[in-house]
């Protein structure tokens, strides 16, 4: 019984991973922004990215 449940779970997981792949799902979820002004092409500075504030890795020894 438990093993059958496990097999069903496996089949489900397999189907899900295939579907996720096919439909282009990703673990990342970028911000969706609506209404980007049409003028942005003439004035790139009119739109500021939500990622304006960020942390960058500063490496080196």
């Amino acid at each position: 019984m438990l093993m059958n449940l496990y097999r069903v779970f496996g089949v489900g997981l397999l189907g899900m991973s295939l579907a996720f792949n096919y439909f282009g799902m990703s673990l990342t979820s970028p911000e969706r922004v609506e209404g980007v002004p049409k003028t942005v092409r003439q004035n790139p500075g009119s739109y500021r990215s939500h990622y304006q504030s960020h942390y960058v890795h500063v490496g080196g020894k």
Partner: protein, 664 residues
């Protein structure tokens, strides 16, 4: 067949076999010898002793597709009672023997050894003997003596002669007996131990009918010599002693004198879970419980008691039902010896080696000395409280092999684990003690689940891998846009809007790959992928940083000049990108976040110019869900593996081979 008149009483004496010269008269028990068609009376033979044998003259059966009929027997007395050598007349005219005692059956015939046999004095229990190019192990040596005859026999034995006989066993059912009735010219009988059902015997004694016929006949009531409690003999002729259930006095029941062998002072009367006289069906045999014994082994100063019930069936002999910590096993005598795993030779002396028996390997579990603490009921050997025996157990759950060693013999038995419910149902017990700990041969229910789970996991892995490869091959992985340039060193921020480009096909993922030709510098791309038709943007960032140098350890490098970000579910359409770059250099101390604090915003610092590029690729194969699936599937087999291992650890902790820990 020849029928002649008994010279003593005139009754007919039948000779079925041409080879037999001697016979007993069934009417007057005179022993006669045939001289052509005349019979000579050699005198009366002793009465046959009741031995509980199910076989009788006229019983027929089949062995290796040869039909036989029992035409005579020699009853032999040995240390533990009597056994019978039944003389067989085969349908092909040949003769042979069927050795039978206490439910064991040995079909044999005399063999010309072809070479001198081992001398009587050189033979020991455990000695190897080679016969017919086969290794035999001596498992028992004993003194025997003729008791009586019945029917036709091919030769006579001197009733006053006590002589040595030795049992030889192999790793198969092939076995042999060495007969030293003539010490200078010993005989060999070779044959096979077979199960009762294998012989397809017919014309057996009907014990139920005999019991029915005795009903109403006045019989002497047996009473304990010590306390006077009445008792009944259930395996008459086979049982050697009986221990009074009430006072524990052990009496000899070989004859009806009931000589007291031992009197014990019982501190308590133990009520067995299965009463003496109770009947229960196990493995298709209706067993009767005729004896009860409590024994114990001392290991590391701790006493481990266990209870043994002696079961009896007229046709199949004995079995032991053993209970320890609520775990039950049914033990039966073995027809053949186990083999050593490495050499394949039959085991001559129990050791801690792994054994092979009927194609299964058995691992040594425990060797200990068992002491008898309590007895009640009938036994086929002269048991008494305080008796000790060396025991060796080997397990292959749900089966177990055991060997009990004493000076004159090695007795091997094979056992099967029984669920307590099976015992309770067989003997109609209203309740039964629940098991605790882990029994030596208790089946591990998690092993099957563990194996099944790993098998399912492996199948998932294979299926998932194949599907992912196919999926990868079918992905378009198409570059739909690329833009590159040179960033100036100062100012370090660049903002641009790309040309429009088409993302074709079905809704799929989009991977934005960024490159910056920097060294000891970071570049952060603030980006937005804007749908020209809907003005909807996917806003994201991507960092590229690469550092290198050299120090006392040599050259080093860290990071990469490329990076990529996956955007999910991007529908087809016309898009453009907003790209804003920031860049900073290695050595900007204020870039490193204080430990435990939220990182400060990055600040651009001037630096050398560098090349950069941004590329957009659609429908890129990704293996992330493959790995997530694997990790999703892994806990179940891991769980069962842990449970199975835990149970095995508990099992072997009680053995001579406890699992070792890393600290040991």
């Amino acid at each position: 067949m020849l029928q002649l008149a008994c010279p003593s009483c005139g009754s007919p004496v039948v000779f079925r076999a041409a080879s037999t010269a001697y016979a007993t008269c069934p009417a007057c028990r005179s022993l006669v010898v045939r001289h052509d068609v005349n019979l000579e009376n050699l005198g009366k033979v002793a009465d046959l002793q009741p031995d509980g044998s199910p076989i009788q003259l006229g019983t027929s059966g089949t062995f290796l597709n040869r039909h036989f009929e029992v035409i005579g027997r020699i009853q032999v007395q040995y240390g533990n009672g009597f056994w019978n050598e039944w003389y067989l007349q085969y349908s092909d005219g040949k003769n042979g023997w069927l050795g039978e005692a206490m439910g064991t059956y040995f079909v044999n015939e005399e063999l010309d050894p072809g070479a001198p046999l081992m001398r009587e004095g050189d033979l020991r229990v455990g000695s190897f003997v080679t016969l017919k190019n086969e290794f035999f192990v001596c498992t028992e040596i004993g003194q025997v003596q003729l008791s009586s005859y019945e029917g036709e026999v091919p030769f006579l034995l001197d009733p006053k002669n006590r002589f040595t006989q030795a049992d030889l066993r192999t790793g198969g059912q092939l076995a042999a007996t060495l007969d030293y009735s003539d010490p200078r010219n010993p005989s060999v009988y070779i044959g096979y131990y077979v199960g009762f059902d294998d012989l397809k015997l017919q014309g057996l004694r009907d014990f139920d009918e005999e019991r029915e016929n005795q009903r109403g006949v006045a019989t002497e009531t047996l009473k304990c010599k010590s306390c006077g409690a009445p008792f009944e003999l259930r395996a008459e002729g086979i049982s050697q002693v009986v221990a009074c259930e009430y006072c524990g006095t052990t009496m000899d029941v070989q004859n009806r004198n009931l000589q007291v062998i031992a009197q014990v002072q019982r501190s308590e009367k133990i009520t067995p879970q299965i009463a003496i006289g109770a009947k229960g069906k196990l493995d298709g045999v209706e067993w009767e419980c005729i004896g009860f014994m409590r024994r114990s082994v001392m290991v590391d100063g701790l006493n481990y008691p266990f209870t043994e019930y002696l079961l009896y069936d007229h046709y199949r002999g004995y079995a032991w039902l053993v209970e320890s910590d609520g775990h039950w096993i049914l033990a039966r005598p073995m027809l053949m010896l186990p083999k050593n795993m490495g050499s394949g030779d039959p085991v001559s002396s129990p050791s801690q080696n792994t054994l092979l028996y009927k194609g299964q390997s058995y691992r040594h579990f425990q060797s200990a000395v068992a002491t008898v603490n309590y007895v009640a009921g009938e036994f086929y050997w002269r048991v008494s409280v305080g008796d000790r025996a060396q025991m060796h157990d080997y397990v292959s759950p749900p089966n177990m092999l055991s060997c009990e060693e004493s000076a004159g013999e090695q007795v091997w038995s094979e056992s099967r684990y029984l669920e307590p419910l099976e015992v309770a149902q067989a003997f109609k017990l209203p309740q039964i003690r629940q098991p605790y700990k882990v029994g030596p041969c208790q089946p591990n229910p998690y092993l099957k689940l563990r194996n099944g789970a790993w098998l399912t996991f492996a199948a998932y892995l294979a299926a998932s891998f194949i599907l992912m490869v196919l999926s990868t091959m079918m992905s378009s992985d198409k570059l739909v846009f690329t833009k590159s340039g040179q960033a100036t060193s100062d100012p370090t921020t660049l903002t641009l809007v790309t040309d429009k480009f088409e993302i074709p096909g079905r809704t799929s993922n989009v991977v934005v790959k960024t490159y910056a030709g920097v060294n000891n510098r970071w570049v952060y791309f603030h980006m937005a992928l804007v749908n020209d038709a809907t003005d909807e943007a996917l806003d994201f960032g991507s960092e590229v940083s690469f550092y290198s140098g050299s120090d006392s350890d040599g050259a080093w490098s860290e990071g990469s000049t490329t990076n990529e970000v996956t955007l999910p579910r991007v529908p087809k359409g016309t898009y453009y990108m907003l790209v804003e770059m920031e860049s900073g250099t290695y050595g900007a101390a204020d870039m490193k976040p204080p430990e435990g604090d939220k990182p400060p915003p990055a600040r651009a610092t001037p630096g050398p110019s560098f090349g950069w590029s941004v590329s957009v690729v659609r429908d890129v194969p990704t293996w992330i869900f493959f790995w997530i699936g694997l990790f999703g599937m892994l806990p179940v087999p891991l769980w069962y593996w842990l449970r199975a291992s835990s149970l095995e650890t508990q099992r072997w902790t009680e053995s001579d081979h406890p699992p070792t820990t890393s600290s040991e």
